[in-house]
C-alpha cells in the first residue's frame, strides 16, 4: 500500500509542477543572443571534407570542435549545419547518388590529448538541414563512414572507440537498414578499434579495414598492440581475413590505407610498426612490398592517418601529414607540395574533385586550403571561425580587447568591437606554438603574458614586438620542474601586477616575471609512475609535453582575500593556502566525500565573489573514461562539499564562473555546452541563443565594465554574450508573470557615423559588433501569436514619436531603438528616393517613455538616454550639432512639403487640361503648369535613368548635408552652416517664385475651372501633407 500512495504522490506532484511552475530554461534566455567574433584568420582543426561529386561547389567540412560547415558556393560562404548536436566530428559521408543524404560520425579520431568525444552517428536526408541520430551512441569516436554505392541503406562505420578506457563499443559496424540496426562485422577486443575502412569501387564486396589498438592515460599514450592489423573482406564485409604477406613483423600501430580508384587492386598502407613505412600491394592485398619511409610519410601515424590516391591517376599519391607530400610513382618516392608557401602543417583531410582532379581541398590543424594545381600551391579559406581556444581574458580598454590561446595556432588578441564588425584583420597574433593562457598586464597596455605548450611563457611587448622568456627554471640542485601542457598563468584579482604560475610548485611574481617566488611545496601527488613521459607513444615515441602529469593546472586567488590562494592539480589535488602560500591544506579527501572520484583533473576553481566561505570547483575525469559533469560547491571554505548536478548537463566540466554582481547567477562551461543558473545552481538551462548547443566551452570571463560574458570555445572561437545584466534580474517570481520589463542600462547617445573600417571582403569572416542601440528588454511567459505586438516610443518631453512592430517570443525579448526622431516626411516625386527621408536627428538626453502594446493591453516602461561621457566633443559642440541637425530636419521636411504642394497643384492642373477642351483657356493652364515644372526641376532631381545620373538639385544637396551633419557628434564645420544657409535661400527664392506665379494665375484659372465644373485649385495644407 505504501508504494501505491508513494506513486500517487509522485504523480500528483509531477502534475502540479508541470501545471504551475514556470522553470528557468533555454527558452527564458530567449533573445539574449551571443555573437561570434572569430577568429577565422586562424582557423581550427579540420577532420573531414566531403564534396558532392556532381556539384563540387557544395562541400561539407567537419571539424574537431566546431561541428559541420557547408558551402554551396565553392567556399565563398559557409553555414554551420550541426549546431544542435555534438560539435566534434570524425567522419562525413555523402550518398553521391542521392546527395541530399549525408551521414556524420561524431567524435574525432585524431587521438591527441585534447581530442573531444562524440555521441553517435547522424543522418540527414535534406542536405544537412535536419539530422537524426542513428545510433552508435557510446562509441565516442568514429573515423570513417562508407555508404554502399548501389544499396544506400548499407552503411559501414569504422569505430576506433573509447580512447581512455576499455570498451566493447568499437570495431567495424554495418547497417543494412539505413541505421535502424547495426551489427559489428569486425571486432577484435575491447582495446582494439577500427581505424579505417575502404571499398573497391568496382566491386563493393571487396573491402579493407585496419584495426588499431591504442590507449591514452592522463600521463601517457600508447599506439600499438596485438589487436592491430590489416583485414580484407570479399563478401561485402561479412567475413574478414587478416593480411600479412610482405607486411612488417610484430605488432602494428595505426595503419592508414588507401586504394587507387582507377586501379583498385593497387593498395597502399602506411603501417606503424617497428619498421614504419609505406607498403604497397598490386594484387588486392595478397602480397605487399615496402616503399617509401620518408619522414613525412611515417610521421606521427596516430595523428596523421590520411592517405589518398588521385581518382584518375593510380600513380599519383598524396600524403597529407606534417606537410603535404606528393608521389608520382605510386608511393615509391615523395616530394613536398607547396613547400615554400605551403598550408598550415598537420593535415587530416583531403577531398579531390573527381571531375577536375587538379582541384583539392585540404583540412589542417589551421583550417581549409584549396589547391588548383594538384597540391602545389594553396589558397586559405578565410571564413571558418572554428578556432580552438583554451582560455580567454579581457582588458579594461574601450572597447576592451579579448585575449586567448589556440590549439596549434598561437596566442591572439582582438577588439570586442571594431568599425564594420570584427574582421580577420582585427586579430593579431601575440605568440606562437600551441597557445593557452594570455594575460594582459594590468598597468602597461603594451605588455601581455603568453605561453606555448609545457609552460614556455613569455612577456611580450606588443609595441616593440619583443618577447622575453620568463619561465621559472629549477634552482641549482632542485628537481626537474613539471609543467602542464596547458600551464596556468593567472592574475591576482586583488593586487595589480601580481601573476601566478605553477609547475608542481606555485610561483608568484610582482615584477612582470623577472623574479619568481616559489610559494608552495610540491602540491601534486608526485606519483613517479605517472612521470614516464619519455616512454610515451607506443610504437612511435610521442612526447610533446601533452602527457606531462602531476602538475598544477588551475590557480585562483580569492577576490575577497589576497592571502587565500587555491590550487588544483591534474592528478586530483585540491589545495588551499590562507596565508599567502606559507601553509597549504589538501582538501582532496573532502571533495571525494561528495561522490567525486579522487584523482580527477581539477579543471577550475571559483572562490566566491560575495561570500568568503563559498567556493565552486569543476572536476574533469574524462581521462579515466568518465565523461560525467562534476561541479561542486563548498560553503565552509572547502571542509564539506555538495555536488551540483542537472539533467541538462552534458560533457565533462571545464569552467565554473560566479557572476560579479549577483551571487545567484552562475555559468558552467563543459565539453558539450554552456549552462546558466539563476538560483545558485539549483536549476540549470542550456544556452542556445545564438550559440551552438553543444559547443566545447573551455573558459568564461565577465568583462567588468560592459558586463559582457566572454566565452572561449574549443572549436568555435570566441563568443560574446553582451551585457548579462538581464540575467541578474530574472527571478522565479518574474517567470510566472505574463509580461515583465527588465530594466536595461542607460543608453548612450552617439551618432555612430561613417569612417574607418573597410568592410570584410566576400569570402572573409566578419563578426558583428555589439548593438549601440537602446535596448528595451521584456519577458513574455508565452509567445504571442494571436495579438498584434508593437512598441510606442516617446521623447523625454513625452511627445509621441512613432511605433514599430515588437518582438513576441517566449522568454526574454529585446527591442532595439536607435534613439532618433522619426525621419522627415518626404515628397512623392523625383527620379529616385529622397535619402533625407531615412535620416533623423538624435534625441536629447532624458528619460523616455516606452509602451509595449499587446493587442489592446499596454505596458509602460522607461528608458534612460544619457550623453556619452567619453565623447571627445564638448557638450557645447554636441549641442551645436544637434541644433543644426534638427534645423536641417525641419528644412528637409519643409522642402518636401513645398515640393508636394507644387506636385499636387500640377496634378490638379493636369485634370483641367484633360477636361477643358477650349484652346484659349488651356493655354494659360498649360503655361502655369510648365512654369511650376521648371521650378520643380530645380527642387528635385528628375532625370530618370540608372542609379547614378549625377543630377543634384536642392533636395539632393539638402539631404546630403543633413546626412553629413546627423552622423557626426561634434560641432559642424563652417561650410555646413554656410551650405545650410545657401540652400535655405535657394528654397526661399523658389517659394517666392511659386507665390508670384500663383498670385498671377490662380484667380484666372480658378474661374475657368469653376466654369468647367472642376473644383477650384487650392494649395495643399501642411496638415494634409503630413496625413497622407
Amino acid at each position: 500500500m505504501k508504494h501505491f500512495i508513494y506513486l500517487l504522490t509522485v504523480l500528483s506532484f509531477t502534475l502540479s509542477v508541470s501545471g504551475q511552475n514556470v522553470k528557468f530554461s533555454s527558452a527564458t534566455i530567449g533573445a539574449l543572443e551571443a555573437r561570434s567574433i572569430g577568429p577565422a584568420t586562424m582557423s581550427g582543426r579540420i577532420t573531414a571534407i566531403e564534396g558532392i561529386n556532381k556539384e563540387p561547389r557544395t562541400i561539407y567540412v567537419g571539424t574537431a570542435g566546431g561541428g559541420i560547415w557547408k558551402t554551396t558556393d565553392g567556399c565563398s560562404s559557409f553555414k554551420p549545419v550541426f549546431d544542435k548536436h555534438c560539435q566534434s566530428i570524425g567522419a562525413i559521408a555523402i550518398d553521391q547518388a542521392r546527395p541530399d543524404t549525408v551521414w556524420a560520425g561524431t567524435g574525432e579520431s585524431n587521438m591527441r590529448n585534447s581530442v573531444s568525444v562524440g555521441n553517435g552517428i547522424y543522418r540527414s536526408a535534406d542536405g544537412g538541414e535536419n539530422w537524426s541520430k542513428m545510433g552508435l551512441d557510446s562509441t565516442e569516436h568514429i573515423s570513417r563512414i562508407l555508404i554502399h554505392p548501389s544499396s544506400p541503406n548499407t552503411v559501414f562505420a569504422a569505430v576506433p572507440g573509447h580512447l581512455w578506457d576499455n570498451s566493447k563499443e568499437r570495431g567495424l559496424y554495418r547497417t543494412k537498414d539505413g541505421g535502424k540496426t547495426w551489427e559489428k562485422v569486425l571486432y577484435i577486443d575491447d582495446k582494439t578499434g577500427c581505424a579505417e575502412v575502404i571499398m573497391n569501387p568496382a566491386n563493393p564486396n571487396i573491402m579493407y579495414a585496419t584495426m588499431w589498438e591504442f590507449r591514452r592515460k592522463p600521463f601517457s599514450f600508447n599506439s600499438g598492440g596485438k589487436g592491430s592489423g590489416i583485414y580484407k573482406s570479399t563478401d561485402g564485409g561479412t567475413t574478414w581475413k587478416k593480411l600479412t604477406n610482405g607486411l612488417p613483423e610484430g605488432e602494428f600501430g595505426r595503419v592508414a590505407i588507401a586504394l587507387a580508384p582507377s586501379a583498385p587492386d593497387n593498395i597502399l598502407a602506411i603501417v606503424e610498426s617497428k619498421a614504419t613505412g609505406l607498403y604497397i600491394s598490386s594484387d588486392g592485398g595478397a602480397s605487399w612490398k615496402q616503399q617509401s619511409s620518408s619522414s613525412n610519410v611515417t610521421a606521427r601515424p596516430f595523428y596523421f592517418s590520411t592517405l589518398v590516391v588521385d581518382p584518375k591517376d593510380a600513380k599519383r599519391v598524396y600524403r597529407p601529414s606534417f606537410t603535404f607530400s606528393i608521389s608520382t610513382d605510386g608511393g615509391y618516392s615523395f616530394s613536398e607540395g607547396g613547400y615554400f608557401n605551403g598550408p598550415h602543417p598537420d593535415h587530416h583531410a583531403l577531398w579531390i574533385n573527381p571531375a577536375y582532379t587538379n582541384q583539392m581541398y585540404l583540412g589542417s590543424d589551421g583550417g581549409v586550403y584549396v589547391s588548383n594545381d594538384r597540391g602545389n600551391s594553396w589558397v586559405f579559406i578565410q571564413n571558418l571561425p572554428v578556432s580552438q581556444f583554451y582560455h580567454v581574458s579581457t582588458d579594461l580598454q574601450t572597447p576592451y580587447n579579448v585575449y586567448g590561446g589556440l590549439q596549434d595556432n598561437g596566442s591572439w588578441k582582438a577588439p570586442s568591437q571594431s568599425p564594420s564588425g570584427i574582421n580577420n584583420k582585427d586579430w593579431d597574433e601575440l605568440y606562437g606554438g600551441d597557445g593557452f593562457w594570455v594575460q594582459p598586464d594590468d598597468i602597461n597596455q603594451d605588455i601581455v603574458y603568453a605561453e606555448y605548450q609545457g609552460g614556455h611563457m613569455a612577456r611580450v611587448n606588443m609595441k616593440t614586438q619583443e618577447s622575453l622568456d620568463i619561465q621559472p627554471y629549477p634552482l641549482a640542485g632542485e628537481e626537474k620542474l613539471r609543467w602542464n601542457w596547458n600551464t596556468p598563468i593567472v592574475k591576482s584579482p586583488t593586487q595589480k601586477g601580481v601573476l601566478y604560475t605553477g609547475s608542481q610548485f606555485l610561483y608568484k611574481t610582482e615584477n612582470q616575471g623577472t623574479t619568481w617566488k616559489k610559494i608552495s611545496p610540491d602540491l601534486t601527488t608526485n606519483d613517479k609512475n605517472k612521470q614516464k613521459q619519455e616512454e610515451s607513444g607506443g610504437l612511435t615515441v610521442d612526447n610533446s609535453s601533452a602527457e606531462n602529469h602531476c602538475t598544477i593546472f588551475t590557480i585562483a586567488e580569492s577576490p575577497l582575500n589576497a592571502q587565500e590562494i587555491w590550487v588544483g592539480t591534474d592528478d586530483g589535488n585540491l589545495q588551499v593556502s590562507r596565508d599567502g602560500g606559507n601553509t597549504w591544506t589538501n582538501l582532496t579527501a573532502n571533495y571525494a566525500l561528495a561522490g567525486i572520484p579522487k584523482g580527477t583533473w581539477i579543471s577550475s576553481i571559483m572562490p566566491g565573489n560575495f561570500d568568503k566561505n563559498t567556493v565552486y570547483v569543476t572536476f574533469d575525469n574524462h581521462t579515466y573514461g568518465d565523461c560525467n559533469t562534476y561541479l561542486a560547491r563548498s560553503k565552509d571554505g572547502g571542509k564539506t562539499w555538495e555536488r551540483l548536478n542537472s539533467k541538462e548537463f552534458t560533457g565533462f566540466a571545464h569552467k565554473i564562473l560566479e557572476d560579479i554582481e549577483s551571487p545567484d547567477l552562475l555559468f558552467l562551461g563543459t565539453e558539450m555546452g554552456l549552462f546558466v543558473s539563476i538560483d545558485k545552481g539549483q536549476n540549470w538551462a542550456r544556452m542556445k541563443a545564438g550559440f551552438p548547443e553543444y559547443a566545447l566551452v573551455r573558459d568564461l570571463v565577465i568583462q567588468p565594465q560592459t558586463h559582457d560574458l566572454v566565452i572561449a570555445t574549443h572549436g568555435r572561437g570566441i563568443y560574446i554574450l553582451d551585457d548579462i545584466s538581464p540575467l541578474r534580474k530574472i527571478n522565479n517570481a518574474m517567470l510566472e508573470s505574463e509580461v515583465a520589463f527588465i530594466e536595461s542600462r542607460p543608453a548612450i547617445l552617439k551618432s555612430r557615423g561613417f569612417g574607418g573600417g573597410y568592410p570584410s571582403q566576400p569570402g572573409e569572416f566578419a563578426g558583428p559588433n555589439k548593438s549601440e542601440d537602446a535596448r528595451i528588454i521584456y519577458y513574455l511567459k508565452n509567445r504571442i501569436t494571436t495579438e498584434e505586438v508593437k512598441m510606442r516610443f516617446y521623447d523625454s518631453k513625452g511627445t509621441f514619436l512613432y511605433e514599430k512592430p515588437a518582438s513576441k517570443r517566449k522568454g526574454i525579448n529585446v527591442v532595439n531603438w536607435d534613439m532618433r526622431m522619426k525621419p522627415p516626411k518626404a515628397a512623392k516625386t523625383g527620379a529616385s528616393l529622397d535619402m533625407g527621408g531615412f535620416i533623423s536627428p538624435l534625441l536629447d538626453a532624458g528619460t523616455c517613455k516606452v509602451v509595449l502594446m499587446i493587442g489592446e493591453k499596454s505596458f509602460e516602461t522607461q528608458v534612460k538616454l544619457v550623453e556619452d561621457d567619453k565623447s571627445v566633443h564638448s557638450a557645447e559642440d554636441r549641442k551645436a550639432q544637434r541644433n543644426l541637425s534638427l534645423q536641417l530636419y525641419n528644412q528637409v521636411e519643409e522642402l518636401a512639403y513645398f515640393t508636394q504642394q507644387i506636385v499636387s497643384l500640377q496634378a490638379d492642373l493636369k485634370k483641367g487640361l484633360n477636361t477643358i477642351k477650349d484652346e484659349v483657356s488651356i493655354k494659360p493652364i498649360q503655361a502655369f503648369h510648365d512654369s511650376l515644372e521648371s521650378v520643380r526641376k530645380t527642387l528635385v532631381a528628375t532625370k530618370e535613368g540608372t542609379a547614378i545620373t549625377g543630377e543634384e538639385q536642392i533636395r539632393e544637396k539638402l539631404s546630403s548635408l543633413f546626412a553629413q551633419v546627423s552622423f557626426w557628434d561634434g560641432r559642424p564645420t563652417d561650410s555646413h552652416y554656410d551650405r545650410a544657409k545657401a540652400l535655405a535661400a535657394d528654397i526661399l527664392k523658389a517659394k517666392q517664385k511659386v507665390e508670384k506665379l500663383s498670385g498671377e494665375n490662380l484667380g484666372k484659372i480658378n474661374s475657368v475651372f469653376t466654369a468647367s465644373g472642376l473644383p477650384a485649385l487650392s494649395l495643399l495644407t501642411k496638415e494634409d501633407f503630413m496625413k497622407d
Binding site: 538541414e129 535536419n130 514619436l801 512592430p805 517570443r809 522568454g811 522619426k822 518626404a826 512623392k828 531615412f838
Partner: protein, 262 residues
C-alpha cells in the same frame, strides 16, 4: 495490485508523454485551426493591404493580390514610388523604381518560378496529396522557446519548405526554405503572428516577419472583385493581355459552377 496500479500510471504517463503524432493528424488539426478544409476550398482570391516599416516609423504601403493558382501582384510604395512584382499565368514582370528606372521589365525565369510558388493561397498543407506535395513529420522542435511540430514539405519540383506548427494552437508559426537566386542558394524564413479570423471565416496571420522586417496587414479580403488587368505587364499588346486575364478567369468560373452544382 501494485503491478496493476503501476501499469495504469505508466499508461497515463506514456499517453501524455508520447502523443505520437502522424503527419495527417497534425495537418488536419492545423487546417482545422485556420478555418477548416471546407472554407479553404472556397478561396478564389485574396487581397491583402497593409504596410511595412522601411525606416523607423516610416510605413510603406504594401498590397498583395492573388487569384488562386493564376495570378499575383505585389506592390510596395515608398515616397510615392511603387515597386511591382506580378505574375500572370506563366509570365512575370516587375517594376523596380527606387533607383530611377520606372519602366516595367520581365522577371527572370527563376523569379517567375518563385513567385508562382506563392500563387497557392491555401498553403502547402491543404490538399497536399492532390497538389503532389510530400509531407514528412520531422519531430518536435524548440522554435525560439516554443514547442513546434516541424513538417517538411517537398513540392513536386523538389523544392523543400519547412513548416513550424505550434503544438498547442496548431498555427503555422514559421516557414523556412531555400531560394535560388540565379546560382546562389539562400535561406529564407518567414514568421507568422497576430492570427485573426477574417470575415470570410479563415484565420490568417495579420503580421508576417522576414528579412525585410515585419509586414502588417490592415485588411485581408477574400473572394472579392478583382480587375484582372492589373496582372498584365503595362505596354503588353492589348489582345494578348486580354486573352491572358480571360484564360485566368475562366477556370475560376467553372470551379464556381461546379461548386454550386454540388
Amino acid at each position: 495490485m501494485f503491478k496493476k496500479v503501476f501499469f495504469l500510471l505508466s499508461v497515463i504517463f506514456l499517453a501524455s508523454a508520447m502523443q505520437a503524432q502522424t503527419v495527417d493528424e497534425i495537418v488536419d488539426k492545423h487546417l482545422e485551426a485556420i478555418g477548416g478544409k471546407d472554407l479553404l476550398s472556397k478561396i478564389q482570391n485574396v487581397v491583402m493591404k497593409g504596410s511595412t516599416q522601411i525606416a523607423p516609423g516610416q510605413e510603406a504601403p504594401v498590397s498583395i493580390t492573388v487569384v488562386q493558382g493564376k495570378a499575383l501582384r505585389f506592390e510596395l510604395t515608398i515616397q510615392g514610388m511603387t515597386m511591382v512584382n506580378a505574375v500572370n499565368g506563366d509570365k512575370g514582370w516587375k517594376i523596380m523604381p527606387f533607383q530611377g528606372k520606372k519602366d516595367p521589365e520581365p522577371m527572370t525565369p527563376e523569379e517567375i518560378v518563385q513567385s508562382k510558388d506563392q500563387l497557392d493561397v491555401t498553403g502547402d498543407l491543404y490538399n497536399y496529396k492532390t497538389k503532389g506535395n510530400q509531407v514528412e513529420f520531422l519531430g518536435t522542435e524548440d522554435m525560439e522557446g516554443t514547442e513546434v511540430y516541424k513538417l517538411k514539405v517537398t513540392k513536386p519540383d523538389g523544392n523543400m519548405i519547412y513548416h513550424y506548427i505550434d503544438t498547442e494552437s496548431y498555427l503555422d508559426l514559421k516557414q523556412s526554405q531555400k531560394i535560388k537566386v540565379e546560382e546562389k542558394e539562400m535561406d529564407v524564413e518567414q514568421t507568422f503572428s497576430n492570427y485573426k479570423k477574417t470575415d470570410f471565416g479563415v484565420t490568417l496571420p495579420f503580421a508576417m516577419g522576414g528579412m525585410m522586417g515585419e509586414m502588417k496587414w490592415n485588411t485581408i479580403e477574400i473572394n472579392t472583385k478583382i480587375d484582372n488587368s492589373i496582372f498584365a505587364m503595362p505596354g503588353e499588346k492589348v489582345e494578348k493581355g486580354k486573352a491572358d486575364t480571360k484564360s485566368s478567369a475562366k477556370p475560376k468560373k467553372e470551379k464556381k459552377k461546379k461548386e454550386s452544382s454540388k
